[in-house]
């Protein structure tokens, strides 16, 4: 088995695009949360959203036609282009059949469904355009990346909802370490959608004023959008070409609660098993973990259960391992979330600084860990876990490590 390096980071998020801007703003505690702008939210009881602002897809999509693809694909191509540029690779020097794409998403291209219904309401079903069906299924997102960059390798979407980014990076790692691919573009993408918003609003899960993960007074999550793509390659290749190595992927773990479609298992059963499996596959133990990037959505239940899961697995060590939620700044970018968080983990390993949980004011006795409140902290982590949980009871934890030459 080959060792797998992360050598490129590209992302577009509610707090900005590109590795550098993202990291500066994240450590400064910037917020990407504002009043929803992409649709009229007046009929909803809540109005906060974490949208990507001032996005010009034409800046990133050079081969494809932006008007012939959904926003999920546009965001994904933007992240992919930034990641390729960041890695310094020359794609033309690769056998394109051994360069693949593995992406995650929650809803794929939900705006195609919105348009379907808008057209149906205004002009009737016969007016539905011909590109609805071919451009809706979520496999078009990695396929658009493949077309844009001329990649002929394995190409798939793993739509495991809000844990999808970790699933996709995990599978990219599998393809590299087994030698099935020489280079993988792996990550996640999701477009802001009134459908997602309506769902979380109806569940009463959206925070009315602020996103406050792990705070006693937390009132919910904030739906968001974005994309992140990581370049994965064999560590040896990265070393040979003198590449910047942000981090090494050590392993990942996945599980299913098999309990409820929307509610987490009350004792965090699946979350615990996913973290344990990630550590086992990485040949690490709980004593090695220096930082946890929490799923930390800000809903009362998620944050409590995640804290219970970490407390259960880590035992007495739990309080010593800092765990923060960058969703406090970015909102919940759905299928992109764990990919964006994997970028944050890579940068934490590379720079030695861990990002904070902002808006943290009042400790909750049910969430009794170190959530890195409000200020970034220099801790020089060596091994980190990236947690992600999803509808359907899906859980995925990714284990990354600092690369030491």
């Amino acid at each position: 088995m080959k060792r797998v390096a992360i050598t490129g980071l590209g992302l577009i998020t509610p707090i900005g695009a590109g590795r550098k801007v993202f990291w500066e703003r994240l450590l400064a505690g910037a917020s990407g949360i504002a009043t929803v702008a992409s649709f009229d939210s007046s009929a909803f009881p809540v109005h906060l959203g974490a949208e990507v602002k001032e996005f010009d897809p034409k800046q990133f999509v050079r081969l494809g036609k932006t008007e012939e693809m959904g926003r999920g694909s546009q965001l994904a191509i933007a992240a992919a282009r930034m990641s390729i540029e960041d890695s310094g690779i020359e794609l033309s020097s690769y056998d394109s059949g051994r360069v693949g794409v593995s992406m995650g998403t929650t809803s794929g291209e939900p705006r195609l469904v919105e348009r379907y219904n808008d057209v149906r309401k205004a002009d009737g079903l016969e007016a539905i355009p011909g590109d609805f069906l071919p451009q809706y299924p979520c496999n078009v997102i990695p396929s658009h990346i493949a077309v844009e960059f001329g990649l002929h390798g394995p190409c798939m979407m793993i739509p495991t909802a809000c844990a999808a980014g970790n699933y996709a990076i995990g599978y990219g790692y599998d393809l590299i370490r087994t030698g099935r691919a020489d280079l993988m573009l792996a990550g996640g993408a999701d477009a802001f959608s009134r459908i997602t918003y309506q769902g979380f609003s109806r569940l009463g899960a959206i925070a009315p004023e602020r996103c406050q993960p792990f705070d006693k007074n937390r009132k919910g999550m904030v739906p968001g959008e974005g994309a992140a793509v990581l370049i994965l390659e064999p560590l040896e290749d990265a070393r040979a070409r003198g590449a910047k190595i942000y981090a090494e992927v050590l392993g990942y773990g996945v599980s299913c609660d098999s309990h409820h479609m929307t509610a987490a298992h009350p004792k965090g059963d699946g979350a615990i098993r996913a973290m344990a499996m990630a550590l086992e596959g990485s040949r690490k133990t709980i004593t090695d973990v220096d930082y946890i990037s929490a799923h930390g959505t800000g809903t009362p239940t998620n944050d409590r259960v995640e804290s219970i899961a970490v407390r259960t697995l880590f035992g007495d060590r739990a309080g010593e391992v800092p765990m923060s939620s960058i969703k406090s700044m970015l909102g919940h970018t759905m299928g992109a979330a764990s990919a964006i968080e994997a970028v944050a983990c890579s940068l934490a390993l590379d720079t030695g600084v861990i990002p904070p949980t902002v808006n943290y004011e009042t400790p909750d006795p049910e969430c009794d860990l170190d959530y890195v409140p409000n200020h970034a902290r220099t801790t020089n982590p060596r091994v980190v876990l990236n947690n992600a949980y999803a509808f359907g009871g899906n859980n995925a934890s990714l284990c990354l490590a600092r690369y030491e030459a």
Partner: protein
Amino acid sequence: MSSRVVVTGTGVISSIGAGADDFERGLNAGTTGVGPSQMFGAGTTTAEVRDFAPQNWLGPKGLRVLDRSARLICVSSHMALCEAGLSQADAEEGDPDLGLICGTMFGGLHSITSFDWSGLTEGPNLVNPMEFPNTVINSPAGHAAIKHKLRGVNSTICAGLASGLYAIHYAAEFLRFGRAKALLAGGVEELCEESFLGFRKMGAASASDSIRPFAADRDGSVLGDGSALWMLETEDAARARGLTPVLEVGGFGSAHDAHSTSAFDVRAEGATSAIRQALAASEIEPEQIACIISAASGNRAGDLMEARALRNVFGDLLGEIPVSAPKAAFGEGLGVSGAFCALAGGLALVRQSAPPTAGFKESEFRLRLSAEAQPFQGKHVLINAFGCDGNNAALILNLRT
């Protein structure tokens, strides 16, 4: 890593039959599931699962919140779990090493569309919250995990028309890595008014309401639906349970055309590469393939592309290798079609007979297709799954003796 992955159970529900026996009978009788639709009104044609009664397998309770795609995969997973002797029905907690890998393109397309529609027409506060979880693409897999207590990996794979084969390969890899003991793998796709209308609007539906794979006068496809799953385990695990498996999941290949996300690439480079990779991964030569299960579904460019890919790989051998295009029977199942074809390939290998291509009369290409079953002798069958989003996959199945 070198551990073999074998099939220890099958679950299938399709327009040509429910359960492996019915499916095999329908396939070998040369019948087609293409016919009048019960879903879309008089004069419409589909290859849908008709008279679908999930309660026959799942009992009357717990169906209310499941959409059609979830019901279909809950039924097929029930069948495969029972056949493999791995049902968790009597277990207090499910097995954490038992999981599900689901290939699909849409998940619950109708659920997400109708959830949005009710918000649009009644206001976002009066939508049914119970419908929201059905809008995510992994909801069929999530519902099946809850219903059948599957606590291991629960992944959904979307790779266009190649989704089913990608899912089977993904599951096989997970078993080889030791991340699970037993995995259901295959796919599900539901037919709904949105996919039915969209398929027609994109110009992919057959004007004559029939699927004529590789025929000179082919004019498009007819959508089907259903679910097909295998129970996969390592051979060691299966033998330890006292089973004698006969079907092994062999080499897999995949390649993207990087040409278009909505049109087949008739140069067939990706499809050719996918087949060659599958052969290489299986460490076999083209002449060892005894039967080919084709992805052809009457699409003008798609069938041409596949014929070219087969010619590229097999050359003159094509005169001897029986080819079957079973989508003429179960329709174009989109995300489940790869899994349907894999099941057809497995049944053909065990029976040593390529199933008939329903209604076959003539082929534009020199391929050994037939309206009758074609007996063969051999240990390897090739299954193709190619899509117009540019994704191509090929899988080889081996007969264990």
